[in-house]
Symmetry: C2
Subunit: 319 residues, 2 copies
């Protein structure tokens, strides 16, 4: 399958100037750039990150790209090219690969990403058959579809937005609305690359992270990395309509969903008061809501009357 | 597991100047380079590319790095940093990850590669748990260990060594000795990065490929990509002692093993007669043997008396 599928892919992948030599050789060549490179990788696995019985594999392919694009956006970088690795169940391998790639190519087209290369393997296939196949009994033929994508981009002038750069007194902003992504948004998130690019022009972002595992959990990670805490304006947290809809089914409150649901893929950024004011005056196409202020006392806090009350981060940790 | 394992990894990974920001943020930052970047990715999967019941996982980790390093060498590039993605069986996930990383770090240390980042998932874990885990019955808990590595390097001045650049009249050279790697060499191949670097200084390499799927199969791929054929000097093919040893068990000839066994990870290069003579006069630390001459008639050929006889490529195709 690999040779004919690669021929199909070469036909589908647009030539973009960032890739000098793409699919078909032992490695790809990316055009020289005067900027530092920014790179990330994230995998999605059937039964862990999605359910093939339930989710459209075109959406799953799109999501695998989008979550990586979101990571680049959260660092203040620009995404340019991708390497795509698929581990495919033997049954319907070509059909599955085609559907997944359809979604990958949709995201690539939308964000001008070149597919520079990748790898395809089929479980129990003969990727390198001289290791033998005498071990038939050990693995289920239902070994899960796994999609691993590496994104490579560049970092414009100025530093990367680390998690560790937040300063006491910073205003903390969150993009869009959060909670309830499980109702469908999690499959087609909008990576905030354009917002990231605009923010980089406008402001000196001290720290940033994208919300993959829950607003409060990722906010807590950012605070912990920076050695600060946050005094939250709880009522300001922008709750997504999906969180309201989900609350009607779940028995939890819309706030709880906004606080702890994962896969919003919105950005949290920490900027100076002055930059926050500057940003607030400009239409960036996506709402940016101030949800709190960084304080010296570590942890997540809300003020109740004149006292601070500690809030527990909740969300979905990896592994 | 991920947080504590990442902390362990950060401690084990050496700081190298090519990585400005490594493990721990949403993406890594690689130092700017004036050269084009060269990138490749290859995965190895239990039951397909190795057998965990039989092979030491430290070796498997080393191999996962080495096969990617070999791809960079085959393009005439220099390897600099790696992103490592592991999909882990739930049982003994931390132990398995530790063993695999041990081999990865050995290769990284040997070839001065920085581990810039990666991803860890455990099958049926809760990488992103809001997709639920209601689908318990679909996948075997024995889902196989999969290791996917992306290598990023740079391409010194001059073009990449494509498969398609061989010219009629070129001398074709192969490094080292081939055949019988299954006896153990396939787990600890020596990527020919140093040889590649020396060849780049000495000669204008027209085309190159590394032997992953068998001497004759990869040679055929190089010829096909270049639109040429090769007249082979069959007796010159450097047969590895392992091919002789394997022939005693297999009932096949040592030549057959040299011709079709995969995973030698030696280089095949196509250079002008003049460059071949220049190279032959210099000790490169690894033998480079001339095995034939490129001809206009496509395919693999040997001369028997005054006639050409066509040879069939054999090896292990992917998928």
């Amino acid at each position: 399958m690999e040779q004919s599928f690669l021929a199909y892919l070469r036909g589908r992948c647009r030539s973009l100037p960032q890739v000098e030599l793409g699919i078909g050789d032992d490695a790809a060549v990316l055009a020289a750039s005067p900027h530092p490179r920014i790179v990330c990788t994230d995998q999605v696995i059937d039964g862990v990150d999605f359910l093939s019985a339930q989710h459209d594999l075109v959406d799953v392919g799109y999501k695998a790209m989008a979550i990586n694009l979101s990571d680049i956006a959260a660092m203040g970088g620009q995404a340019e090219s991708a390497l795509v690795t698929l581990a495919l169940p033997k049954k319907n391998a070509t059909k599955i690969a085609g559907e997944v790639y359809e979604g990958i190519l949709q995201a690539a087209s939308e964000f001008q990403i070149a597919i520079a290369g990748g790898d395809l393997s089929t479980y129990r296939g003969r990727d390198v058959a001289n290791t033998g196949d005498s071990d038939e009994s050990r693995h289920n033929t239902e070994s899960p579809l796994a999609i691993s994508i590496t994104l490579i981009g560049s970092l414009p002038d100025g530093p990367a937005w680390k998690r560790s750069g937040a300063q006491v007194g910073d205003a903390v902003l969150v993009s869009g609305h959060v909670g309830g992504s499980i109702l469908g948004r999690h499959l087609r998130p909008t990576p905030r690359l354009e917002l990231s690019r605009r923010l980089r022009e406008l402001a000196d972002v001290h720290a940033a992270i994208d919300i993959s595992d829950g607003l409060s959990l990722d906010l807590d990670r950012l605070c912990a990395a920076s050695g600060v805490g946050i005094e939250l304006d709880i009522d300001a947290i922008p709750i997504h309509q999906d969180a309201l809809r989900l609350a009607q089914q779940s028995g939890r409150t819309p706030f709880e969903h906004a606080w702890s649901d994962g896969e919003d893929f919105e950005l949290i950024v920490s900027v100076s008061e002055a930059d926050a004011s500057k940003i607030a005056a400009i239409d960036l196409g996506v709402p940016l809501t101030r949800i709190g202020t960084m304080v010296g006392r570590t942890g997540l806090w809300k003020r109740v009357d004149s006292k601070f009350e500690r809030l527990a981060p909740q969300g979905h940790s990896h592994l």
